[in-house]
């Protein structure tokens, strides 16, 4: 009897909402039917309906829950209900059932209307209709259960709702859990309008479980500590609180998201049929981009792997690098001997270089220059490819590979300059900090020779251990994958490191190059 009274009270109190909102929702749905772009994309009114259920329907249940639950607690009118001879659970259950029925019946009304108008043009069968009805019913129930639980959170319901939605979006995008293929979301995903046969039993089971959980949660919020929690939370939020909470929540979420994303390691790469060699500092994986490599190719691959590991190991030891990025060499039959190509890898995965392993010698100087430079670049996530540091990372492999043959590179640089009739030879101090512009002016080849020549200039002017300290500082830095690397590079500029480790300036290197190593070359005036 009392329950009937409560039922009458709820219907009377919310009569406008319960009557007008479904009508309004239905009108909204009719408007949605007219969205030509959606219809063109989906080719089915059920596709439009799935969009409507995704975006508009949850608003309907939120409003329903707001009116049935949140408003009651905000205005403290639930106190009158508590004076009645029924348990708190009973009157919450009445509200729950009324809301659920309103949500489910409205949703089914929408499907029913769509089905009746599209029976022939959609080729609707009874089974397809059943699949649609089951999915829609459960989605509507889920929306209601979620709104019901949220409504007890009073003024924090929107913030918590926002956090939940953001978290789901983040999980979908960044983690290996696909929310859109899970439980209730799977019910109205892109297959909603088209799957005519299969009833998604797993999704249905999951959805029912989630509905049960949310319902229990809602009742717990509503009953715990004589419903004082719900009443307390129901107080209205001030403007200031709204702004502060929004900013705070957004900030915290972004920080958390960023931290999690940073910790998501790049997927390791494996090449099938590869020859892998490794040492404490270096790992090299060599493979052929063909299904069945010949014996000669396998031998060439092994030779490349061993040679690359030996060279990189020496480099790493010299530069005090604990771990170089993994190196992947891929043999390509169709490549010319002098063609080397970098693959598209995240620097955290390593470096991938394509080459013709048969045609190119493992100890070829040009090849090794390119490979060592690429590995050093990847080691600092390409940060060395900058105006101020590029000459170091370009010059180092040239000097390193030709260090026993002192003077050859300088000679080549001198010859290259003398052949050219322009003023490109006038490498100046300022160009060592504007290397990209210099490279563009004189061309890649001559810029490489210039970098090598400067490195020889350094080796002549500085003591061996000082030079090593300088190179180790610039090239051996373990750059973290974030803003700290930027700050480090601004703090420790190449010229300051050079001065600190060798006592030299960039001008000293250039003048030594022009004055001693290239006596016949064009002057060294600053441009």
């Amino acid at each position: 009897m009392v329950i009937r009274g409560i039922l009458s009270k709820e219907f009377y109190q919310h009569r406008l909402l319960l009557l007008w909102l479904p009508i309004l929702i239905t009108c909204g749905w009719v408007l949605f039917l007219g969205m030509k772009e959606l219809m063109l994309l989906g080719g089915s009114q059920f596709y439009n309906l799935s969009w409507f259920l995704w975006f508009i329907f949850p608003l309907f249940t939120l409003l329903l829950a707001n009116s049935l639950i949140a408003d009651e607690f905000r205005k403290s009118t639930q106190l009158f209900l508590e004076g009645l001879p029924v348990s708190r659970f009973a009157f919450l259950a009445v509200k729950y059932v009324i809301g659920m029925l309103a949500a489910v019946l409205t949703a089914l009304l929408l499907v029913g209307m769509t089905s009746s108008t599209q029976w022939n043009s959609e080729g609707l069968s009874l089974r397809f209709a059943l699949v649609l009805w089951i999915k829609t019913l459960l989605w509507a129930w889920f929306c209601w259960a979620a709104s019901f639980a949220l409504a007890f959170l009073g003024r924090y319901r929107f913030i918590i709702g926002f956090i939940v939605v953001f978290t789901l979006l983040f999980v979908e995008r960044e983690l290996e859990i696909q929310v859109t293929h899970f439980g209730p979301f799977h019910l109205i995903d892109e297959q909603y309008a088209y799957e005519r046969y299969e009833i998604p039993m797993v999704a249905i089971g999951t959805t029912l479980g989630i509905i049960l959980l949310l319902t229990i949660l809602g009742f717990v919020f509503g009953i715990v500590r004589d419903a004082t929690l719900a009443s307390m939370l129901a107080e209205k939020m001030s403007y200031r609180e709204k702004l502060t909470m929004t900013a705070l929540v957004a900030f915290v979420l972004f920080v958390i998201a960023s931290v999690i994303e940073r910790q998501t390691a790049a997927e390791p790469l494996y090449l099938p049929g590869s020859v892998d060699v490794s040492s404490a500092r270096v790992a090299v994986s060599v493979s052929a981009a063909v299904s069945s490599p010949t014996t000669a190719e396998m031998e060439a691959l092994q030779g490349h792997a061993d040679s690359m590991m030996d060279h990189l190991d020496e480099v790493a030891e010299f530069l005090n690098i604990k771990n170089l990025p993994k190196v992947f060499l891929v043999h390509r039959r169709d490549f010319d001997p002098d063609r080397y190509e970098l693959g598209d890898l995240d620097t955290r995965q390593g470096v991938l270089i394509r080459l013709n392993a048969i045609a190119s010698a493992p100890d070829g100087e040009r090849w090794l220059r390119m490979a060592i430079r690429s590995v050093l670049l990847a080691h600092q996530h390409n940060r060395l490819d900058s105006d101020t540091r590029d000459w170091v990372v370009t010059g180092f492999p040239i000097w390193w590979l030709a260090r026993s043959d002192k003077g050859r590179i300088v000679q080549e640089f001198a010859v290259a300059n003398s052949v050219s009739q322009d003023d490109a030879s006038s490498l100046s101090e300022s160009e060592l900090v504007r290397w990209r512009a210099y490279k563009k002016r004189v061309g890649e080849e001559r810029a490489q020779l210039a970098a090598g020549a400067i490195m020889f200039s350094l080796s002549e002017r500085a003591k061996a251990e000082d030079m090593r300290a300088f190179l180790s500082h610039v090239l051996g830095y373990e750059a973290p994958y974030d803003f700290r690397a930027t700050i480090h590079d601004y703090w420790y500029s190449v010229s300051s490191v050079l001065r600190a480790t060798t006592g030299l300036t960039l001008a000293d290197l250039v003048s030594h190059l022009h004055g001693t190593l290239l006596p016949g070359a064009v002057g060294s005036g600053d441009r």
């Binding site: 293929h181 981009a289 299904s291 891929v330 512009a437 690397a485 930027t486």
Partner: protein, 654 residues
């Protein structure tokens, strides 16, 4: 008379709005700090965006800060009931409003100044010796127009904030109206073209001020401010009281609820109409051979001619449920007799995957975008019948679309989830399925597609990492290249891993559940790795296949023109002169498409060739100071348009 105490009080009242905008920048800074290097946006080599993101963020930030300041200006007083207190002071309501407006303007100046400084800081940090020097005039011009825009938004928001809980709905309606005016065209759309305000350019040392748009927005904003003042002053705040009385009505709550629902619908509709969601258009097959002039590619002008009103019928074969218009019954009956054989061919291509449970629905009477011959959504295929289409063409389209159905089914929809990475797979494998038949006509079509691939490649090699990243690809080349090049990728997959590799890849995609934000080449690498092969093997096979095709088609490729274009502005018309530079092929018809930049999306519009051989369009159609377009050619030997890479130029005059 300026009352500094009152001004200070208003500024303090807006401090939370300032805090919110600063917090947005702080979040952005934190994000940049945590994600990578401050001086290099993309350290690991992936392509940076084309700048549309920054334009989008400027719009959002201006709109957001304008709305926050505008609503806080008066709304806070109302909420805290402090207006009554202010009314008791010996200052007029007009004076209070003027101080509020001044405070809002000062906050706007402060925030825009901060935003510009923030932008300058990152520009400075990213400078190198090859960068153009920072143009402070451009920054200043940006500051001026953004300040103007935000001030206008503040005025409008202040006025609309009187509607209290109906504010989201009214704001949505106003923004929708502005978008509608913009899309409708005409002189008013030029006056209210907000995108022209976003990035003012500097040409030959002079700032090109978008005067017309500045005046248009200023007029609109002035109206907003006048209405806001009027509402605030009206009979000493009676409007506010009236609205408060309305809030006490018993139906107010329901009406507010109605307002929220309507607001949500308006905003969703608005976003949808802006976005047009071209990403969803997963599985379409390009319309078969068509003359260049007919090529269209925007959703707005796409649909096939609306079919006549007709009753629908349905018939079933073993594998298909066919929906047709009654008037097409005779033809559909003939076609349906051979459909099951088509299904078997598709099953053969995938080496007998699990059959689609139930039947595949083939809707021959539905609407589809006009640049497509068919569209697939999950297990529903739309292949409209038309008179010009031969039965063989219909079956090829059907094979293509059923190929899509199986890709989706085998991957359990994951191929669509990873649309950006898998588009080339989707279209390539579906094209391979379409051409997976030994009959003579299909053989000829195969030859055409291969020639198309060679022609596309001759206009610039597309590296595989770009090909498998749809977003980057679309910035580089026209979107139809995924069909011929994707076909070669599908062929190469079969070459390196056998006929079953496409199916096995999709099976792995289904079980691996890769994050939706994975890098495209990473997705491919993982899928191939999991199937005992590698991306490197695929790249090698694909490139050698392309090389062989280029050699095979060398005679044809030598005969087709390479097109050079020149852009000028002649009496308010943009004129694109496209000329073959090295050779002239009489059969090649020149074509041109221009990108119509929206705030959110970029649409392609075909431009008709004028009698003098140029391509012309009114200057007012392109907002901003840059234009992007494609020029290309169409010949019967290829049957599909082939474009040169994108051309982007500055519009030098207005």
């Amino acid at each position: 008379m300026m009352n500094l105490t009152l001004l200070a009080k208003e500024l303090v009242g807006l401090r939370l709005s300032i805090g919110l905008v600063l917090a947005i920048h702080a979040i952005d800074l934190t994000y940049r700090c945590m994600f990578g290097f401050l001086d290099r946006p993309e350290p690991s080599g992936s392509d940076s965006s084309d700048g549309s993101d920054s334009v989008f963020s400027i719009v959002i930030l201006s709109l957001l800060s304008g709305v926050v300041i505008g609503t806080a200006m008066i709304g806070q007083e109302r909420e805290h009931q402090t207006l009554t207190f202010l009314d008791g002071l010996p200052v007029s309501r007009l004076s209070i409003f003027i101080h509020k407006a001044l405070a809002a303007l000062m906050v706007v100046l402060l925030l825009e100044g901060f935003s510009i400084t923030y932008d300058w800081f990152f520009l400075w940090l990213n400078q190198d010796s090859l960068s153009e020097p920072i143009d402070f005039r451009e920054l200043f011009a940006g500051f001026v127009v953004r300040t103007l825009l935000t001030t206008c938004v503040v005025g409008g928001a202040a006025f609309l904030s009187f509607s209290r809980k109906w504010f989201p709905l009214l704001l949505g309606i106003v923004v929708s109206l502005l978008v509608w005016v913009r899309t409708r065209g005409g002189p008013l759309s030029t006056w209210l073209d907000t995108s022209a305000l976003l990035l003012p350019s500097v040409v030959e040392g002079q700032v090109v001020w978008p005067v017309q748009q500045m005046v248009g927005h200023a007029i609109l904003g002035t109206f907003g401010w006048i209405f806001a003042a009027r509402a605030f002053l009206h009979r000493d705040g009676r409007l506010t009281l009236a609205i408060e009385r309305y809030a006490d009505l018993p139906v107010a709550g329901y009406l507010t609820a109605v307002g929220y629902v309507l607001a949500a619908m308006v905003w969703i509709g608005l976003l949808f109409s802006l976005a047009n969601d071209d990403e969803e258009e997963v599985s379409d097959r390009p319309a078969v051979t068509r003359a260049a002039g007919e090529v269209a590619s925007t959703l707005s002008d796409l649909e096939q001619t609306p079919p006549q009103v007709d009753a629908f019928g349905g018939l079933q074969t073993e594998s298909f449920q066919v929906i047709y218009r009654r008037s097409a019954l005779a033809r559909v009956s003939t076609l349906a007799a051979s459909m099951d054989a088509i299904h078997e061919e598709v099953m053969d291509y995938f080496e007998n995957p699990d059959r689609v449970s139930g039947k595949i629905v083939v809707d021959t009477g539905a609407l589809i975008p006009s640049h497509a011959a068919g569209v697939t959504n999950w297990t529903k295929v739309r292949v409209p019948l038309n008179q010009e289409q031969s039965n063989a063409e219909f079956f090829r389209t059907l094979r293509h679309e059923v190929g899509h159905v199986y890709i989706e089914r085998i991957s359990d929809g994951q191929a669509t989830t990873h649309f950006n990475a898998m588009r080339v797979f989707h279209e390539g494998v579906a094209t391979a399925v379409e051409l997976f038949s030994e009959d003579e006509e299909t053989g000829l079509e195969r030859e055409k597609v291969e020639r198309w691939a060679a022609a596309v490649d001759s206009r610039g090699r597309i590296p595989f990492p770009v090909l498998c990243d749809n977003e980057t690809l679309l910035r580089t080349r026209d979107d139809s290249v995924v069909y011929p090049l994707g076909y070669l990728v599908a062929d190469s997959l079969v070459e390196i891993g056998g006929q079953s590799l496409p199916r096995r890849m999709m099976e792995k995609l289904r079980v691996l559940s890769l994050p939706a934000g994975s890098r495209p080449s990473q997705v491919w690498s993982t899928l191939l790795q999991q199937n005992g092969t590698s991306l490197e093997m695929l790249t090698a096979a694909y490139e050698s296949r392309l090389k062989a095709l280029r050699e095979r088609e060398s005679v044809f490729l030598e005969g087709i023109p390479r097109i050079q274009s020149e852009l000028t502005i002649e009496s308010d018309e943009i004129v694109i002169r496209a000329e073959p530079v090295d050779r002239a092929d009489n059969t090649a018809e020149l074509i041109c498409r221009v990108e119509m930049k929206n705030v959110i999306t970029n649409e392609l519009e075909p431009v008709a060739r004028a009698a003098d051989g140029t391509f012309r369009l009114p200057r007012e159609r392109i907002s901003g100071s840059r234009i992007r377009f494609l020029v290309g050619w169409w010949t019967p030997e290829v049957g599909y348009p082939v474009f040169e890479p994108w051309v982007e130029e500055k519009l030098k005059e207005r």
